[in-house]
Subunit: 342 residues, 2 copies
DNA sequence: CCAGGACACAACCATCGGTTGTGCCGATAT
DNA sequence: ATATCGGCACAACCGATGGTTGTGTCCTGG
């Protein structure tokens, strides 16, 4: 591919060969092999060089795309100055969607999305420089951030009720949390001790709900399958959660109001991480746009609810932007060595 | 790359090896080579298979992108059922922009844009099936379409005047064609006998202009260079022509009104070409949306002008959608053999 | 403690992809 | 008309690449 593009740019096999530091014969053989593999002629050989055929013209932009994809793939893991790498709790949940927004708003930023096992692994990865940021709700009780990891309340996500078409509440537009007392609410796969368990535990306690967080997680599909089939259980999902389900299977999303539970997503990063794109991401998660005031109202005016442990530890207060150390962009932090980032 | 993705999907080297019809050892060596080349570890080897590392997670979507790019590149030239291939007169002119619109409107359509030497080559390529369609103004006098090539007036493009900042007309908002009599208008590189020469020749004759179409074409850059530097010449450009010029160099686009000359772009295709995307393209160039009524008005209400030879030969009348023959999708037409397109 | 599953390493070998040397072809100059 | 030259293709050759088979190591589960 590289040879093909080089010839298309240079117009002559010989010049492309010089460019690529090989002989003209090698270039000729590469083109012959490519043309044989594709079954078409890519260049029209003329007395003064090579011109693209129609097939070659059609092929060229795709070849450039491929080389760009290779470039980006290498850049994603290049030690020293790689793309911004952000951990999300799941690729179909709100943080991933927010990162999609960010990517659209800043197409020039190289961004990679990864998923770590749990919040502790995420914090370790942030401290070691393996990832640049993480969306984790670490303000939960009992968790304590290391000094060199900074967190801000990034954005809040209203929670909705998800039911099958036969559910008692399937036809209502909105419900209040207190009205859900007595209904079976089923959230399998939530490991106790995690941020989710703390959130839904507090939610259940605050409104007298019964939330079954027991049982192993068989994945989203069986859960939705069960929801769609049976009239009894319901589950909570985030407003921006993507459900991949054939034609939604008749599932209903029901807004929760008076108050609306909102899940507080936080962004964590290393205090000394100088990755230039990290600032852009933090700026994107601007204070006003994405966060709801605790105990306040949504944009549409509805009252909101968040766990009590969110308010006292309002983490945005220690959003100090000082960047004291140096970071080699991939490996470990080095607070002493000088040296820039890309 | 393919091996890497196969392992990421399968979760085990052995399964990927089976999938790829090679031994597990070969897969192991491929991964080792890739990891060595990148300088990072892509998989964490566990007792029951292989899990992606963080670098591997970041690498994976780019690897998939690369494989998709390869897939599309091959599809672009695959004999028998390749992507829709459309000829445009220049990549920065309006037809290319319209194809960009079409691509955005139909992201699922595989579309390749090529440029042929002249209208005759385009017609030959359409007849032989090498390309599927062409934007060429072949309704000019003296040109005659073969019976098996169909044309419709695809869209009309208003013409603007382009001047340097020192030009006498640089500050006006609009000019009438008749007001340009006596001004130097310079359009180098237009070969006499082509569709452009016919258009601008008629335009000059209709309003008493002097258009210099002599001189070789040194490309767009020297032309814009001259325009920007000297106070004297001006040139015509299409409304949708892309000028790539560092900060535009102070060039001014001046609308032409009373009447507005519009360039009639046509779409040509082979009567019997059954490529499914061709219909989508023709539908995209719907009758009402893109065409101005000859001698009528633009959307903004201004009167328009088109060469006289456009009106009598209103080609949309013979837009017959019959598809009589069969087409092998790449090579030549075959009006007898049965066989489908993709 | 042993058996089995999964990946890595070693040895071997065919093929691939590079090099040098040469031939052919069309355009241009003499 | 013919010589020359620029540019690409073909042939012969050879080291590197990338596959195979065989074996080793490590972890897990019975």
């Amino acid at each position: 591919m590289r040879t093909f593009v080089a010839i298309a740019d240079a117009g002559r096999f010989q010049d492309a060969a010089t460019e690529l530091s090989v002989t003209q014969q090698a270039v000729s053989k590469r083109v012959a092999a490519l043309e044989k593999g594709l079954g078409v002629r890519l260049f029209a050989r003329t007395p003064r060089g090579a011109r693209l055929t129609l097939d070659g013209q059609a092929f060229l932009p795709h070849a450039r795309d491929l080389l760009r994809a290779e470039e980006r793939a290498v850049a994603a893991v290049r030690p020293g100055r790689r793309a911004l790498r952000v951990d999300v709790i799941g690729r179909r949940l709100a943080p991933a969607a927010v990162l999609g927004d960010f990517r659209r708003a800043h197409p020039e930023v190289e961004l990679d999305v990864v998923t770590l096992f749990d919040a502790d692994a995420a914090i370790d990865a942030i401290r070691s420089g393996t990832i640049d940021a993480s969306f984790r709700a670490v303000t939960m009780p009992g968790s304590r951030l290391p000094d060199d990891v900074t967190a801000v309340r990034a954005f809040d996500e209203p929670i909705q009720l998800l039911t099958g078409p036969a559910h008692e509440l399937a036809e209502v537009r909105t419900v209040a949390p207190a009205e859900l007392a007595g209904h079976r609410i089923w959230m399998p796969g939530i490991v106790s001790g995690t941020e989710w368990a703390a959130f839904y535990g507090d939610l259940a306690a605050a409104f007298g709900l019964t939330i079954e967080i027991t049982g192993p997680d068989f994945g989203t599909e069986p859960l939705l399958d069960t929801l769609a089939a049976a009239p009894s259980p319901a589950t909570f999902v985030g407003e921006r959660t993507h459900l991949v389900w054939p034609a939604e299977h008749g599932l209903r999303r029901i807004a929760v109001r008076d108050p609306t539970p909102v899940y507080p997503h936080s962004l964590l990063w290393h205090r000394d991480n100088p990755h230039p794109a990290l600032g852009a991401l933090r700026d994107h998660l601007g204070p006003a746009r994405n966060r709801l005031s605790p105990g306040g109202t949504t944009r549409s005016g509805a009252r909101t609810w968040t766990p009590a442990w969110v308010h006292p530890a309002r983490p945005e207060e220690h959003d100090e932007r000082g960047r004291h150390g140096r970071y080699d962009g991939h490996g470990r932090y080095d607070l002493h060595r000088r040296g820039g980032h890309r």
